[in-house]
Symmetry: D2
């Protein structure tokens, strides 16, 4: 049994991680920390976990995290970078669900996240945990940077296309739509039901923190070539789900459907839908799946890729568990082989 600690279990990625870990047959959940809620039974905050998670929140000091095999950080940005070094030194592997270790260029990270990075040396060794791209490196990672939700949907959607070298890299467009849980479990007016329900809007058009992360990933797929990306996130009135609609211009002919099917053959969590499909976010609700369909409207030179995930699972907690499975040599699907909840 893998001994697991969770730092910061009071947000949506936290409770989702607990949902998955509480049923995982290879895991022993040891501690969940929360400074603010120490002493409170986890299930009092999240009644959906009654009878499943018997632990109480504890302070970080009382958590005994250094005796764990792996510690997940489901914390705001800027926490893991301060605490990871000590854990790594103690032989504990770290999976950060926030953004602290995602961007390799420290200056770029500091510009977008507005703080000084506390552990640049860990960024250098950290592995970006997109298994469909980096599976080999993930196996031995001591510090794993779990990808963002938008970056997961966008990168998986573009992956075969960019690797193929058959699209113009300078003018990619990612028009992405997210459910409101992506905003987290923070008391903010903009995420109130009466603000977000029955309405739709774009946000962060001028620049969103996931832009440099996606750009770095796409550039990696293109052997380091610079990638020009316009990324527009939107808020849609649903709880979970991301739908990325991706646009790229073809520079030569190729069989798109085969390209996608072959690239993802053998991937347990990427489902290339039949030609002509329109995947719905609900078709992956609660599951670790990414479903993708590729279109070429009117046979023109613009490719349209539709990519959907559950932002809290494949876009956060599920992918984190998938990475843990890889890191510890378990079956990659163990504990996260969930049928989507639909309707």
């Amino acid at each position: 049994m893998i001994k697991v600690g969770v730092v910061g279990g009071t947000g949506y990625t936290g409770v989702e991680l607990l949902r998955l870990l509480s049923c995982h047959p290879g895991v022993q959940l040891r501690a969940i920390t929360s400074r603010g809620e120490a002493g409170m039974p986890v299930a009092d905050m999240f009644p959906s976990l009654r009878r499943r998670v018997e632990l109480k929140f504890v302070t970080p000091q009382d958590a005994g995290l250094e005796q764990c095999d792996v510690v997940f950080f489901a914390t705001p940005n800027g926490i893991a970078m301060k605490q990871a070094a000590e854990l790594v030194a103690a032989g504990v592997r770290v999976i950060d669900l926030a953004a602290d270790f995602r961007i390799r260029d420290i200056a770029e990270w500091e510009k977008w996240y507005g703080m000084t990075h506390a552990a640049p040396e860990l960024v250098a060794e950290a592995v970006y945990g997109l298994p469909e791209v980096n599976r080999a490196q993930i196996r031995t990672a001591r510090v794993l940077a779990n990808p963002g939700c938008y970056p997961t949907a966008v990168q998986l959607g573009f992956l075969p296309l960019i690797e193929s070298g058959a699209v113009e890299l300078g003018h990619l467009v990612a028009d992405a739509k997210s459910g409101v849980s992506g905003a987290g479990r923070k008391a903010e007016v903009g995420a109130l039901f009466s603000e977000a329900a029955d309405s739709f809007k774009a946000y962060g058009v001028g620049g969103h923190r996931h832009l440099p992360e996606i750009r770095q990933g796409l550039s990696g797929m293109a052997s380091g070539q610079t990638v020009g990306l316009t990324f527009v996130p939107h808020l849609t009135p649903m709880i979970r789900g991301i739908h990325a609609t991706l646009y790229a211009r073809l520079t030569r002919e190729l069989d798109l459907q085969s390209l996608y099917e072959e690239r993802f053959a053998g991937e347990a969590f990427v489902d290339v839908m039949p030609a002509g499909s329109h995947p719905e976010t609900r078709s992956v609700r609660g599951s670790n799946l990414c479903r993708i369909a590729v279109h070429r409207p009117q046979g023109g030179d613009t490719v349209v890729v539709l990519s959907v995930i559950d932002n809290l699972v494949k876009g956060a907690a599920g992918q984190a568990v998938q990475n843990m499975n890889i890191m510890f040599g378990l079956d990659e699907q163990l504990g996260i082989d969930i049928v989507p909840l639909s309707p």
Copy 2:
């Protein structure tokens, strides 16, 4: 492995049954029938089942249902009563998720359902599948009448109270609210998104088919005494979930919290919440749980019980699988021990 057939798998209870059965470790899914969709892969209709259910819909004739150990009817009312006898004669056990075998009084059934009953003799032997009340009889049932969604939430909520004999039976009130999936996957204007979203209404105040079913059940708990019940169902803009708010007048003092906790001690799927709780429907979403809280506002003589279920799970498919587990001597929680999806 239990050989299972499903008749009528194209509605919401059907797809939910397939979600549960496809992960059930004791089940081999043999056939899913649909006259209208014969030949179509099930996963083409329900993309959430891609890679999980490889079967195609077949006609009833081609289904080989008589070689199954158990056949679930996820059909409209009036179908199972015509086909069950032949299956039972062939040694197949039948679980009907519709209403054909729920009401013991044939005349009453015919009045509410507007048709002549085709198999009164099976009604006589059928067992009403509310495990928390009838577990012993369920074990040996050949024909199992799976309870309706409202009746499950309302009966479980009233159960300890009525068994206690401490409430006035003549004027019970059940004010119940259901998500829209309770209306089924039928193309009807009233269930359109633009009709049902961002609105709330009562319906069927004059009389709803679940009224006689609930009345029969409550009367059974009261050793056959007649029960006066006002039942008002409402439609609420959510997909899944039933919230029943129950009102009864106390006739003597008793410790309500203990009464409920003791009655449901040992029940895997009924969770009595701490005093003062307000269970949310999302706290059982996707799970087979019923969560209950009991209140006595201002210490008066009116008891208020709050009872929530997922109408498609404990109110339909999940309870059907629970009954199957009991009928075949399996662990009652096998395959349906699911953590609710929240948020």
Copy 3:
């Protein structure tokens, strides 16, 4: 033109009041105060008011409220009671959309609202602004207590029944459901989209502040007799709307449909639906209407009344404008004669 000031225009009742007042042909909007947002154009906070409301928020000191004919308080509880006396002394009429002047029993008010009342003498003279009950007194009111949202729906629904003297007063039940805007525009976790969407729950079963207000109103209709009421509010995933389902026991025969139609004949904002109807909250969305249907299931002795309003209009801002119209001798429907927005 009536010179109007609004204190506290940053919540949902505030913006709704501005929507209505900005189109009201008899009103000149003079000032909107907000300490926190002074200097900000109102339409920057509420883009729906762009081109309609040109004012900026001002501090109370700069608002010149004493030169207004009427001042609306769309503030949290406890504000109006401190500021009303000075305005009244200056000849300004005050309409409070909060609860400061609703409960005549000061001790009762202080118990439920947890503060010491700052102006008991104004409570004594304040008029409770339910026009269908108190129209005559409203005309001359200097301080008007605008009713709460639940109290409006529940009182209008019970009104004819209680006035008729034909129901048992000791065991009334009001099972009420509200959209989330009733919780206000406050950053609180419980009102987040991801908490409130796709779920349903009761709250405040042990005791809600609207209980004493409703009890006082019902008692008034019953010539001062004590009324026993069980009031259970629920949160339903929609933005606007209240649906009250009311239960009472008949003590003698009477023609319920006629009773309701006659009592509300001539009322512009109460619509008694035909027998057998089920009013939807969306049928009053954005309007000042209350629609009511009355049922007697199975001809028994339990009456069920269905009463729907838009909580922000008839339940708050619209009723406040209706009261202003009455107070200033205008046509009662002026400026609020709006067709509901449906779908």
Copy 4:
């Protein structure tokens, strides 16, 4: 008073038209036809119109449409083209809210709509009713083709940019999101609450009927140059609203904010938001407004335009009334000068 008839008032554009016409001070509503519902009071189908619309549905024969000044067709495609000629011959002006007269190229129309056009000569004289482009021609139109919902949002969003000549015309992208009411009030499984709620999907990526309409309009703005457009519509879980996110590549420098503000100066129903804005669909809910914001992310050469409308108002019924006002020399805002309903 303008004498008005409505053909086909049982869908969402029909009821919305009735909402607007019933309050329009210059209109006398004479007849609403429906073959299927003849004899039924309109307000029985649409309770939101109780006390506002006293008419019953009549058959077309009994409607006396030829005595009207103007007849609106709120019918499925293919109806108006069969009935308009006779009305026009009788001196009645026709406003078609469906697509019969929108596409000037008959062969193109027949390809996308799958029927033979019954009145090509009326197509030749019909005026496309986008007032911000064609106001002069609308004044004298006998047959007015009211634009589609997506085409309104997309064309208004692209208008200044394309007229400026400063963008590459060959690779425009319109990523558009619609509320579910755009699918109409038809009983179809895909538009059920339980299918469309809490989910997001693209549809018609291979080709949508609004594509040729938009392409024709954009080409007109570009003095007839061919325009390459990728149009991807999506379904989002809200009732009303369209959000179009538009992408174009700049070919020279220009001040985008001024370009937009100047182009729409004086337009009552187009609101150019301040630089950096993100208009929400709810900020136009129930109103005839189009709100637009223009962005240039990271100062690159890709322009992003955000354009929102209420699909049932500016995208259908409201624009139809705006066109009627222009055709009959009324104030363009008469009867449709509505403040959006928010929240």
